[in-house]
Assembly symmetry: C2
Homo-oligomer: 251 residues x 2
Amino acid sequence: MRIGELAALVGVSTRTVRHYHHLGLLPEPERLPNGYREYRLRDAVALARVRRLAELGLSLDEIRDVLADDRGRELREVLLELDADLARQERAIAARRRRLAALLTETDLHPDSTVSPDMAELLRAVPAGLSGFADFDREMLTVIDTGADPRDRAELVELFRPLLEPEAIARSHDLYARLDELADARADDPRIPGLARDLADHLPPEMASAMVTSLGGPDTGGGWLEHMAMELSPAQAACFRSMVTILKERA
Amino acid sequence: MRIGELAALVGVSTRTVRHYHHLGLLPEPERLPNGYREYRLRDAVALARVRRLAELGLSLDEIRDVLADDRGRELREVLLELDADLARQERAIAARRRRLAALLTETDLHPDSTVSPDMAELLRAVPAGLSGFADFDREMLTVIDTGADPRDRAELVELFRPLLEPEAIARSHDLYARLDELADARADDPRIPGLARDLADHLPPEMASAMVTSLGGPDTGGGWLEHMAMELSPAQAACFRSMVTILKERA
DNA sequence: TTTGACCTTGCCGTAGCGTCAACGTTTCTC
DNA sequence: GAGAAACGTTGACGCTACGGCAAGGTCAAA
């Protein structure tokens, strides 16, 4: 039997057969005088073994190990491990499909809208398209949501939860409007002190303390808030710094 | 912000960031005089967008297309296609896990035992470990099961079904024993004609005709049976040829 | 004789980065 | 001020399980 016949018999490509030879999964058979490989039925049996294990999802390396140790002892362990892995994949796929389903029901489908469900809840508290500063906030929240691991994300959501109250949302609209007004103002604008105080009052206490410690300590969040301040207009940045000062005095 | 800081912020490796630059998913930022990349917050926003789409399961090429066409029109199509793909994967994984579960309940776990459920049913009619010829038959059935596509497999199972009857199984044990006795015999052994006739009688009619046409025609199964005959002892091969002759005469 | 269907080896390509290598820069520490 | 640690740079190879192509050699039929 030559390689094409063997491959057709077992239902693979000749390239696959040669690949298995190369990896040592299948012994090289005798050669005919012209250099062609000459297979026997036992090669088909061996190849079929490899194929069935591969179709179960074992990697070719795992198959080599199983065939080397032979006789099922290790096979059971590998299969159990494989099943656990498949179970994990199954859950991951189901979770992704849930997220997809939630996304596809949305009216305004945009790459930015593909955040986690937790963050989607928070974003509903921040108006989109109305205020430049609110849009900036939304982008920052989106970045944080992408980068944070689930534990931090849950913590973050808890920090923000008080801002989801209706009166807090109403207050935030006023604050965003006043922040937008500072977009073209100078750093000594007289409206800054009042707005900084109102912002400090607006923030939930836990969030305020988290911000202060984050700015003070050398941990991951530190540089992040500074970079955020750098993107603001001079007046907005001054307002932000003033607010932080107020929060520090209170702490 | 330098590359490490950006990467930490969004939760990826610096290698990933550079990879996205290379693929054009993320614009190259300004460079500092020393050659370092200098990022702004908008780069973090862009990177976070890419990451969220990637975590949904889009390929980087698809992400580039979506970001190029921007504004959700194409995104919806891609996500629908992705969901269909995920659904397919989910079904495939579930099917594999069912096969794994069936396998793991078996007592003698061996690479050879990883056949399809259909073939497992057939193999129960062929004794394992008792007869050398029966073991050979089992191997051949295993090879066929691996190589055949599902349609052919179902057809094959139907051909074999009569052999699953209790009296057929009892007959087959006798036949296997007599075939084993021919392992060391010569091609002119006097027991051959009788055994060939009993074998011909044993085969279901549909199976017999399938064998004859398969041997006669130049289709895929033809060479396969010849190769099988080559692996037998001279007396067994003679018996096989004799049986085929009888089947042809009857047809 | 020529075509066409096989076979041979070998190398590049895939997706999404990880992981060196070999080197320059910045920053912390002593 | 000097050394070490921790950054940054580009470039190249590695991983899976083969597919595809190149550049041939071999064999049977037309």
